[in-house]
């Protein structure tokens, strides 16, 4: 018997929103009921996103709690700080929530307020929120009412470090994550810095002195090994639309260094992820390309070690809009509603 989930989206005009739409209109168990956008209310969604012409007849509408309350599930694809103001009422009406922004990702509210520069509007819900990284939190996700969908960089980095930390293999005081993202991660807002003529054919680091995803990543890594990791995280801007690559550096502990070959560590990765549909441990010494996951919900990972070195290099790639946002959100929805996990997100990456 098929379940049809009545779904609403708050904030459908950004890239996360349209990616949700792209995937949800092809999802066999979803009935899209409402898509809100203050700025575009009254216009057809397919006027903004012509890829949806003929596939979605809904207009953007003004946010309306009563309309949203008729949904089984509401996705918030809004800027940080919006969901926290609307979620309590919807939860009280029995609607389940997946927030794709950062409002409920960080458990320590003081840390959240420092990095996001605003006062949290509903601290009491933070503890109830489940951090939606299925590979770690599957059981908690099943029953949750309020899900905090992980950030894009945190997804790629956490999945890359996970087996090293769970197995206590590395020196946790000095981890490095050198991460690179396509420009869609900066969103659809009009800004000079995201213009084609400002970014094409060029590359740079940004946020090198400190980026909001640092505390989210550290919280996740700390939980994996009950440690207090020392992490340096530097994001960079790639001249391409979609894709994140994270190159991770970690020194083996002396014990692991003497006991384990790189092949052994590869085996631990393969074992850890063997039942995960959306994590692909590639053959040892592969070089995963971001295009191998473009438009798909996969995370591909590969391991390297240089001669005479105690450093493990982990290469991890995702599509920031899919596994790093909308795809993972739908994966979480599938788990929350008891569907087969890969329903509607089995698309093969577009390559070339």
């Amino acid at each position: 018997m098929s379940i049809v989930i009545k779904v609403g989206i708050v904030g459908g005009t950004g890239y996360t929103g349209v990616e949700l739409l792209r995937l949800l209109v092809m999802h066999p168990e979803v009935d899209l009921q409402v898509i809100t956008s203050r700025s575009e209310a009254g216009t057809l969604v397919s006027d903004t996103y012509p890829n949806l012409r003929g596939r979605l007849d809904l207009p953007f509408t003004e946010p309306d709690v009563n309309k949203l309350a008729e949904c089984d599930l509401v996705f918030f694809a809004t800027p940080n700080g919006v969901a926290m103001k609307q979620v309590p009422e919807l939860l009280s009406k029995g609607v389940r929530i997946i927030d794709l922004a950062a409002d409920f990702r960080i458990k320590d509210v003081a840390v959240w307020e420092k990095w996001y520069g605003q006062t949290h509007a509903c601290r009491e819900l933070i503890e109830r929120a489940v951090y939606g990284l299925p590979e770690i939190n599957r059981e908690a996700i099943k029953g949750c009412q309020l899900l905090a969908n992980p950030g894009c960089y945190p997804t790629a980095v956490q999945l890359g470090f996970l087996p090293l930390l769970e197995n206590n293999l590395i020196q946790t005081d000095y981890l490095i994550a050198d991460a690179k993202s396509g420009i869609s991660g900066a969103g659809r807002g009009a800004s000079v810095g995201s213009l084609f003529s400002e970014t094409s054919g060029s590359f740079k680091a940004y946020g090198a002195s400190g980026h909001r995803h640092l505390p989210e990543i550290k919280q996740g890594l700390n939980a994996m090994q009950s440690s207090n990791v020392g992490l340096t995280f530097v994001p960079h801007l790639l001249p391409m639309v979609r894709g994140i690559e994270a190159t991770l550096y970690a020194r083996l502990t002396p014990a692991s260094q003497s006991d384990l070959s790189l092949e052994d560590i590869q085996a631990l990765y393969e074992q850890r992820y063997k039942d995960e549909t959306f994590v692909d441990v590639m053959p040892l010494r592969s070089h995963p390309e971001t295009r191998s996951v473009k438009g798909s919900n996969m995370c591909r990972i590969a391991l390297h070690q240089q001669e005479d070195s105690d450093t493990i290099i982990v290469l991890s790639v995702i599509d920031n809009l899919v596994k790093g946002a909308a795809g993972q959100a739908i994966h979480n929805m599938n788990i929350m509603f008891g569907l087969a996990e890969s329903t509607g997100i089995e698309h093969v990456a577009l390559m070339p």
Copy 2:
């Protein structure tokens, strides 16, 4: 009751081949049996195309007629001149054929031999072959054994001119098709001219003195109105992977010019394509973007006319690898085997 079509692919390493694979592994009624490649025989398909990891376990194999003969349908995704040598034997064994190359597209063998620079190896089959543009040839496609899948430029240009010609609206002696294609159209062969560093951030015409798709387009246009069109066709190379845009120019006949407004012509386009799943007539004076069809089987068309001008401007966009190759081939397969036409090719374009 579901039909499962046993499918083989000859020449699976090129971009047309991998695009067939991407779409066919998600097609609910297809059982992929054999994928041949002389150069890559023995290696896993997913080693060349990691987007298929976990989705396709087949290796490339040497071409083997007996293996292919067990299929219901064989796609040829080979260079021009290969299919014509292998098709007769397979046809004789009852296998149906879709050739994605040019071997069977041109009815006048002398024209074919001149433009393709080789002697045709099985002239007797040319007449039997059905030209697979579903919007024109649907009935003939249903029963055909040998289908010639249209070229990429010819698809975009013919669908753009079709309603003008069928309705006798234009002066056929002077048509212009200024067409632009992404670089994937040049194939996956190693050539200096297709290197990233030779093409990125640059644009040029090519084949401006004459291109192989000219006779194919003319044959198609001539059939639409029993005319002998005068066509100038100039292709250009875009610094992007996928997508074709054709800007078409045609002068209205004096009669049409006095009788018909642009709105009337728009209505004729909408009428002509109203039952076509894969042709989208956009609102008048739209500017279709190639990205609105990226990865999808859609052709989007829009009309313009400048002030005090008798010239109709038609803008037509497709994804050269989908509607211009693999997607249209699968559309044809669906028609040949009695499936719903859009089975397995309903993917929404990736945008952004």
Copy 3:
């Protein structure tokens, strides 16, 4: 003896402005005195454009007529409609002016006001302004006080058609210019349509029902042959930063068709441009690439004709920011001040 020209720039923050700066800091006879920008006044130019670090110590300043009046020459790199308000006062103080915007390009003020949507603020100067296409107007440029620098598309299109029209070779009632531009042509303003994620990997026409450069081009073409040309002009947006390619279509008159081979026409082009430093007539049937002029002031042109066709195809490429804007402006400055024409604009294109 060297002449040093004291130069001011009004509106230095846009792409035309920074390109002027790039070229002028390397120009041996220029002393940059003032660069105005309302929005950035007080900040160093090199903070906005780090390529100028160590080469230009000036800050942006508020526009100040007295400061500008100390210059020999002021470039206006402002939006349309700004120069016309400031030019009269500067002219009256003896400053010579080069306007890179459209304020003084169109002689028929009614046409200008219709296409630019504003009332012209100093109609009396329009007639005095010299249209700065050196290949046509060299003598007038020498003595002029107020120069209207041509638009980017008009430069590429006019130079392409020029020898055909000057020699009365073509049917002027039906010319087509299918032109394509890099995104820098849209300027540095923050707009969703120019974002990397909206334009990368995609292509589209724009302004297909009518674009402001149409009347400028027609005015130029009409002057070449005392005709009233029928021109269809469709611009397109290329996923790259710099470069314009125009593909031009014109039918030979019956007389030219019978009298002249393509080689003869090639000879006329070579003859017409043999003394022009910045127009390169390439070998017959070449395909000029925009990258062959990237960062340089060259226009490269090539001719084609398809079999059994009376249509001449002209391919014309320029860098829209150099020959299409800043480079041509400096070329004009050199002529106005009696310098060798190529002074400071001899840079070889960056390739690859």
Copy 4:
């Protein structure tokens, strides 16, 4: 009085070769005499590189020692292993040599032979060769006959680490260089991996288990502080033509950590490079973009440190074809021949 240097280039068809040509045709003190290429002998250089049309009339010629021996200086822009076979004869005839390949970069011949997979053909010259990083070796460069021009990654990485090592500030056993390069670094050879359709819109690491530039970088870093550094170096491939960005990570020694603020370290960088024309220490916490050096010989560097961290982050950008190859070679030529160091390489980066 001007000196005119008679120059030859061996291997002028690759990207390093054409970049030498672009810069040398604009160099006021160079007379280009001969450009060899086995594959293109007999054709005009400007047929392969139309940006040189009208600027360089030379054809490619077969390599001919007698012709080369008439030059004052010969650049080798050849694949690794070519120069070492031809250099001895030319040196013996009094020609000075700049090798842009790796033949003479590594002092330990066993290390060279291991990484480059061939036997060195003239070991005796290795010691005589001067490593041409002007910021370190200026005095030795002045009188040298045989100069080994540094690799692209090694230039960006060494200049980034230099002040840290010269001042003994960091723990040298664990340095990380996460470097990213545009595709022109892979050369102009036809290979599937460098096709536009294989690389555009995608990003990946390569050589993560070990890359040839690792021993060159280590040799350089070791010399800066008489240490034996532990270095992990991972290169990545950017979807753009030109540019390298290296993000460097180094832990301060406990002493530096307690004694020095980031501002102090910034001051050391500024002091070290204050007289260097081609190294720009940007303001603290800047994010240098590769486009800010595109086409120019600059290296731009910026420093960062994250909260509560003992790790210094250095961002270093160059144009791999200029400061990473041809521009640095000309800088070295200028020093060798007593010209002002920046002669002919003062071009401002093309931006946008």
